[in-house]
């Protein structure tokens, strides 16, 4: 495969032509913040945290779904980008009920870690305080919509890695939410294989092992990587 050269944050980088800006940056050791992206899953560019500046474009482009191009000049960490990333996080926090102190994922949450890393020390938007329920009808897992950021990792992992197609998205705009099968309680699902991949994929405390107490929900993402590597690269490396 042909290589292309581009500049990321002033560094000249050579990358495979089918790579995204996110992949090329990662290979070069440049970290771009992400939330909806998860290694092994197809990208959808939903969360907008990975936006970067590309010379010649007025728009900010999501690095996860932008292919590299010859001579591309990319900036991943400017004041403008930090400003928008913080705003994205603030909007996520304002949209639902994220209470880190009493969350099962406290200390192991990607949303919380990003808020810390990007210096989101307050939220300028009015909190919506929506009333969402918790579904713990499944024998092993639960979903708390209050903590969901609609990254759809669970939907993609369920459809494209497990192949069960249990998790889906219903509704529009602010009413958007993750559903099980035809919008029924998880415990009544006939398609769920109880594999737990969605729980491993979730970046926040929205999906959790039933019975988890505060700060107990730690994920093991290596399991997902193992499955993807085994399937796509025929490598069974633990």
């Amino acid at each position: 495969m042909a290589a292309k050269t581009l500049t990321i944050d002033g560094r000249l980088i050579s990358a495979a032509e089918d790579q995204t800006v996110l992949q090329a940056a990662k290979d070069a050791g440049i970290q771009i913040p992400t939330l909806c992206h998860l290694e092994g899953l197809s990208d959808i560019g939903a969360c907008r945290l990975c936006v970067v500046e590309v010379a010649g474009s007025n728009k900010l482009l999501p690095a996860c779904v932008t292919r590299i191009a010859e001579g591309m000049q990319v900036r991943t960490d400017t004041e403008r980008l930090r400003h928008y990333r913080r705003m994205v996080l603030e909007l996520l926090f304002a949209e639902r009920n994220h209470v880190c102190a009493v969350c099962v994922a406290n200390g192991h949450c990607e949303l919380q870690a990003l808020a810390l890393a990007l210096g989101m020390d307050h939220v300028r938007f009015e909190y919506r305080f929506p009333k969402y329920s918790v579904d713990i009808t499944h024998h092993s897992f639960g979903i708390d919509h209050n903590r969901c950021i609609l990254c759809t990792r669970c939907v993609r992992v369920c459809w494209y890695i497990e192949g069960a197609g249990t998790k889906n998205v219903a509704g529009r705009g602010a009413e958007c939410r993750i559903i099980t099968d035809l919008n029924q309680s998880w415990g009544t699902s006939e398609t769920c294989t109880s594999c737990g991949k969605c729980v491993q994929a979730c970046p926040t405390g929205a999906l959790f092992k039933r019975g988890s107490a505060v700060a107990e929900m730690e994920r093991d993402r290596t399991r997902l990587e193992f499955i993807v590597n085994a399937r796509e690269k025929k490598q069974w490396i633990v």
């Binding site: 009493v102 406290n106 329920s133 639960g142 019975g211 107490a213 505060v214 700060a215 107990e216």
Partner: protein, 473 residues
């Protein structure tokens, strides 16, 4: 007469409280009311949460005694799982509660109350605080602060942090006591013991010069409630409920805490968000009872450790059957610190603590659970209902400060009647009323050290509701 106490950070009932004193035509105090005007809403907003989160959510009620809520909540969850928790888990929970009693009582005595009776009631407010105590008696103040630190560190060695450790979980605890923690606790025990004995000797001196306060600060016969061990020994984590009367006679005993509603009614006063629990058989408000250190010592025949038992004998000699003056809460508090230190000393070498089996596992086996433990301020009830999946459908919390609501009202009235006559407020009155409330170490006062001062307003009303005088500080 209205009194406002501003407390920040806010916990369940902490925040705004006020006292109203009603004067009759002749300027005599006719009635006294203690109003808590903040609403916390934990009982409501916990509905809909998975029950396993409750030991994480409810400790946020308070930053001083989060361990109490942690333990009562975990115990209620144990009931929902219907399991016996591992022996090591129970012993470790007990140790954390003892650490909590030490730190909270040390805070109450040294930081909050000692300035009143060691510096004097009439000391100007800007010096009548722990900083004034540091200036007047630096060794004592430092020892008191270090005693509190000792209690906090026990909590930290077990739970990973001093405040709000998410450590006790349904079915047990998350982690044991590491050897480094055990050694660190052992190394500090002698100093903690010495500080406590010094404080006890000092308070006995105070008692000699404070006979009037002992007579006036909430001195009345009442019922006393607390948890008691099967052999009549002081209890702080488990056991059964016991009520004794003002003469020390046991009037209800060996009550399964889950049956608390048969014995305790909860009255709601329109003027306060703090519920007024009462002993059902005597009705409201005659069923006034007190909880906390004074009550626990009144219902116990022994502390279970030698030094504390010696002190208990002296304590009991201050009353007939039961010790009825709320001023002696302070003494009871010090005796409980002593007992806690002795008990921790005994526990440290217990081989059970080294067990790695710390958590029992089970599903939802009961649809309700009541968890009761002794918080520093008194008996704490957590009562949960869940649906078959374990979603909380109902919560009832009776916080220790709440039990004492009626008694605090009565204490204020007693102090006011003694010190207030006529249409002006004598300056020392403000301080005496405040100190009367502080005997109970309610959550209202225990957080005031956070922002450094108590915003206090006393308004004197005549029988037509006209403002006669007002003092704001």
């Amino acid at each position: 007469m209205a009194r406002w106490i501003k407390i920040d950070p806010v916990t369940r009932i902490e925040g705004h409280a006020k006292i109203s004193l009603l004067l009759d035509d002749s300027g005599q105090v006719a009635d006294a009311r203690f109003h808590v005007t903040e609403f916390r809403g934990f009982e409501k907003f916990c509905e809909g949460r998975p029950f396993a989160e409750m030991p994480g959510i409810t400790p946020r009620v308070c930053g001083i005694c989060p361990v109490s809520h942690l333990l009562a909540s975990a115990k209620a969850c144990d009931q929902i799982l219907a399991v016996d928790i591992p022996v090591a888990a129970e012993k470790l929970r007990r140790m954390m509660n003892l650490g909590q009693i030490i730190q909270s009582h040390a805070l109450s005595f040294f930081h909050l109350s000692a300035p009143d009776f060691l510096l004097g009631w009439d000391t100007p407010p800007e010096r009548r605080n722990v900083f004034g105590l540091m200036a007047a008696n630096p060794d004592l103040a430092r020892a008191g602060i270090r005693l509190r630190q000792f209690g906090q560190e026990i909590i930290e060695h077990l739970g990973g942090r001093k405040i709000h450790p998410a450590w006790a979980v349904p079915g047990g605890v998350r982690a044991g006591l590491p050897e480094t923690g055990r050694d660190a606790i052992r190394a500090k025990l002698p100093e903690a013991l010495a500080t406590t004995r010094t404080a006890i000797a000092l308070f006995k001196q105070v008692l000699k010069s404070h006979e009037q306060e002992t007579q006036v600060f909430g001195n009345f016969p009442s019922l006393f409630l607390g948890l008691i061990a099967p052999d009549d020994t002081w209890e702080h984590y488990d056991g059964k409920l016991r009520f004794v009367d003002g003469g020390g006679n046991v009037i209800a005993d060996q009550i399964d805490p889950a049956r608390y509603k048969e014995f305790i009614g909860e009255a709601v006063e329109p003027a306060s968000y703090l519920k007024s629990p009462y002993y059902r058989s005597l009705g409201y408000p005659a069923g006034l009872y007190r909880v906390g250190p004074l009550a626990r010592l009144n219902i116990s025949k022994r502390m279970g450790t030698p030094l504390a038992d010696e002190e208990l004998r002296h304590f009991k000699s201050l009353g007939w059957g039961a010790v009825t003056s709320s001023f002696l809460y302070h003494y009871a508090r010090l005796i409980e610190i002593l007992a806690s230190i002795e008990r921790i000393d005994h526990m440290l070498d217990d081989p059970d603590l080294r067990s790695t089996r710390l958590r029992s596992d089970a599903g939802i086996n009961r649809l309700s659970g009541v968890g009761v433990s002794e918080a520093p301020r008194g008996t704490l009830f957590h009562d949960y209902q869940v649906d078959p999946d374990g979603i909380i459908t109902g919560v009832n919390l009776i916080i220790a400060t709440g039990h004492n609501n009626l008694a605090m009202n009565r204490t204020i009235a007693q102090i006011a009647r003694h010190y207030i006559q006529g249409n002006t407020i004598p300056e020392p009155m403000l301080n005496r009323v405040e100190a009367g409330i502080r005997c109970y170490d309610p959550c209202l006062s225990c957080s005031t050290h956070a922002d450094g001062h108590l915003a206090l307003q006393i308004t004197l009303l005549d029988h037509r509701g006209q403002v006669i005088d007002e003092v704001v500080r």
